[in-house]
């Protein structure tokens, strides 16, 4: 289990990461969500030890993470890194060896994975001659070599087509099934929603929300959509009701509580025909926009 507590990083006077804390339990996939400059990459670099924290700690199974642990972490940095002018198999073998594998084992495993993801005929091609999608596949393969205890992946799915996303998420699932915690960041919220067991939302260097997507949805404010036969302008004056969006006969409201919602429905029925009155479940991106705007 990976645990991050009170992690901060300052660049000069600016706090890029401010008192960040979350856990990535064994066998779970945690999505790391946040806009540009939210501090995701900085946090991941501190987890991997390529950047020193200004404050806070990274714990592995309850103890401060050591270099011996990190050697067994698979890492895919935000800005992709492979030697452009070297054959893809050669450098995956090299990276596997740096991971502690023997040369033969590293070559076999790399060959298997490259073949599995359709690069079996490009083993000796230079990385720069591969398409961006294939470079991305090679990059993900690089991070899973050497039987990693944990995976830290910065935007692993950007630039992949939906089929490749499925292939790659299947590969990550194999690792969570084996008990490894996986932390990955993404801008694609629907993808995070679909793949992750839980989500950590970062904004302005701070954790603004975390939990499973159910928990996040439940914690979101109660909202209803009311659609009637005529204009709904009258809703603006209703007690305990905040109007979020009003468009002629349809209005999105945020009532103070259930009672206020029931009163609103009764008023609407008294005024005429009610076509729709429904509880609105926010999507993850709406929740994200909400917490990011707060």
């Amino acid at each position: 289990m990976l645990e991050v507590t009170g992690l901060s990083r300052a660049y000069g006077d600016r706090l890029a990461v401010d008192d960040v804390g979350f856990t990535v339990p064994d066998g779970r996939m945690v999505g790391f969500v946040g806009g540009n400059g939210a501090g995701k990459t900085t946090t991941m670099r501190m987890i991997m030890g390529v950047l020193a924290p200004s404050a806070g700690e990274v714990l592995w199974d309850g103890a401060p993470v050591a270099r011996e642990d990190r050697v067994r972490f698979g890492y895919m940095p935000e800005e992709r890194g492979l030697y452009p002018k070297q054959p893809v198999l050669g450098q995956l073998t090299y990276l596997g060896q740096l991971h502690g594998m023997t040369q033969a084992a590293a070559r076999d495993r790399s060959t298997d994975l490259l073949t599995r993801f359709g690069l079996g005929e490009r083993l000796t091609s230079k990385v720069e001659t591969l398409s961006l999608g294939n470079q991305q596949r090679a990059q993900i393969i690089a991070s899973v070599l050497g039987d990693p205890k944990m995976l830290v992946l910065d935007e692993p799915f950007s630039g992949l087509d939906p089929a490749a996303v499925d292939q790659m998420s299947e590969l990550l699932r194999e690792h969570t099934s084996a008990g490894a915690p996986v932390l990955f960041s993404s801008h694609q919220l629907d993808l995070v929603d679909r793949l992750c067991d839980s989500i950590v939302v970062l904004h302005g260097g701070r954790v603004v929300a975390q939990g499973t997507s159910e928990q996040l949805r439940d914690s979101a404010p109660l909202r209803y959509r009311l659609t009637t036969g005529e204009d709904t302008g009258w809703v603006r004056g209703a007690p305990g009701i905040e109007v979020i969006d009003l468009d002629g006969p349809s209005v999105l409201v945020q009532p103070q509580d259930e009672a206020a919602a029931e009163r609103l429905l009764a008023d609407a029925v008294a005024r005429g025909r009610v076509r729709e009155f429904s509880l609105v479940r926010p999507s993850l991106s709406e929740i994200y926009r909400e917490v990011a705007a707060a």
Binding site: G49, V50, R80, G81, A142
Partner: protein, 393 residues
């Protein structure tokens, strides 16, 4: 469980990448060929020994030409001079004009004439003149009641070539070897230094450095890079030197090889330490850049140091040469030259080696510090001073 120490993997990769790089292979092969070529070329281009045909009209003329032939072959053993008998002066002139003869000797004792078209070949003219003069001298001496030997007694000068006793090399040779040593170090330091800097910035630019830094300590990465490139630099220079030495034994240049072997024996440790002293600084220069384009700027101080070292190494003499031959890096160029020239006490190269070793410790510490601090700094190139003040990330 780790199959190999990380620095060995890194060094192995540096070497393999270079050894499979076509540009590197081609340039090495070309250099070796060039060295061979420059040693053998003179023998190919030396013209054949000249042979002269001289038309003569009388027995006296033939005798003079035979005498001249002895003189000419004393100067160049492979050169031959032959007399060709013709009927008369007209025939002799015709032979010269037609090109059948290089010159014609006509007339007789007291009125010899050497006919030629546009001047007789120098050695032939000198030999004929000398032969005629000697025979005239002998006749005149006899007429005066004495002999040529008596007349020329005590007029010879003995020639002694000190280089031939094998202990002192001719000055031109020591200069040539010193120049070769200096150039080899200068080129190896720049070529492989740039290679180190390039390979660092390549990893920075392609961002693979983040993966590497997460897997192995940056010092191991640096160590592997520096050692891998030192092995390559030294291997390439050893190959070229071997080619040069083999080439030297093939051609008729009897350089005093025992002295050269001693000089090379000293040159090797100076070369290796001089290279190592700068290697970590080259790595730091690479780490300061964030793109290949920045290298020109960040490696400038190193290139300046090497150019100054080369210039001082080639032009300093006497007292200052002695003083500067102890300065680290400069000593790689100057001390071997002084050793070839002789007159160096044993403590001098040992002290100079000690100094460069100490200097290595300093530059490796500083270079490694700069490298570690600047390596993951990816936004724009850094100045040397600014990098020193970076906090350790």
């Amino acid at each position: 469980m780790r199959a190999q120490a990380p620095w060995r993997l890194v060094a192995g990769r540096e070497i393999m990448v270079k050894l499979t790089d076509k540009t590197f292979i081609v340039s090495t092969v070309l250099t070796v060929l060039l060295v061979f070529g420059s040693l053998f070329a003179p023998t190919f281009f030396t013209p054949d020994a000249p042979s002269y045909a001289v038309a003569v009209t009388s027995d006296e003329g033939e005798a003079v030409v035979d005498g001249a032939a002895t003189v000419v072959s004393a100067g160049n053993a492979e050169s031959a001079t032959t007399a060709e008998r013709v009927a008369d002066r007209d025939a002799a002139e015709a032979a010269v004009v037609d090109g059948d003869a290089d010159a014609a000797l006509v007339g007789g004792p007291g009125q010899w004439e050497l006919l030629s078209e546009g001047g007789a070949p120098g050695p032939l003219e000198a030999a004929v003149t000398e032969t005629v003069r000697t025979s005239a001298l002998a006749e005149n001496a006899q007429a005066a009641g004495t002999s040529v030997d008596a007349l020329t007694q005590g007029s010879t000068v003995g020639m002694v070539d000190l280089a031939e006793d094998g202990t002192v090399m001719p000055e031109a040779v020591t200069y040539a070897i010193g120049f070769a040593f200096a150039m080899m170090f200068y080129f190896a330091a720049i070529v492989f230094g740039m290679q180190i800097a390039n390979s660092v910035v390549e990893e920075k630019q392609s961002r693979i450095v983040e993966i590497l830094a997460a897997k192995i300590p940056t010092r191991q990465l640096l160590l592997g890079k520096v050692l891998g490139n030192t092995v390559l630099a030294f291997g390439q220079i050893a190959l070229i030197s071997t080619a040069a030495l083999i080439g030297l034994t093939f051609i008729d240049l009897d350089v005093a090889l025992p002295g050269l072997a001693g000089a090379i024996g000293w040159y090797v440790p100076f070369f290796v330490l001089g290279f190592l002293a700068l290697a970590c600084v080259w790595a730091a220069a690479g780490a300061l850049a964030s793109r290949t384009e920045d290298l020109q700027q960040t490696t400038m101080p190193l290139i300046m140091v090497l150019v100054i070292a080369l210039v001082l190494g080639l032009y300093l003499e006497g007292f200052w040469q002695q003083v500067v031959s102890f300065v680290p890096v400069l000593s790689t160029i100057l001390m071997p030259v002084r050793l070839i020239e002789g007159d160096v006490a044993l403590w001098e190269p040992i002290l100079a080696l000690g100094l460069v070793l100490g200097f290595c410790a300093v530059t490796i510490t500083l270079g490694a510090r700069l490298y570690e601090r600047a390596l993951l700094h990816t936004s724009g190139s850094l100045g040397w001073r600014k990098a020193m003040s970076l906090s350790k990330d």
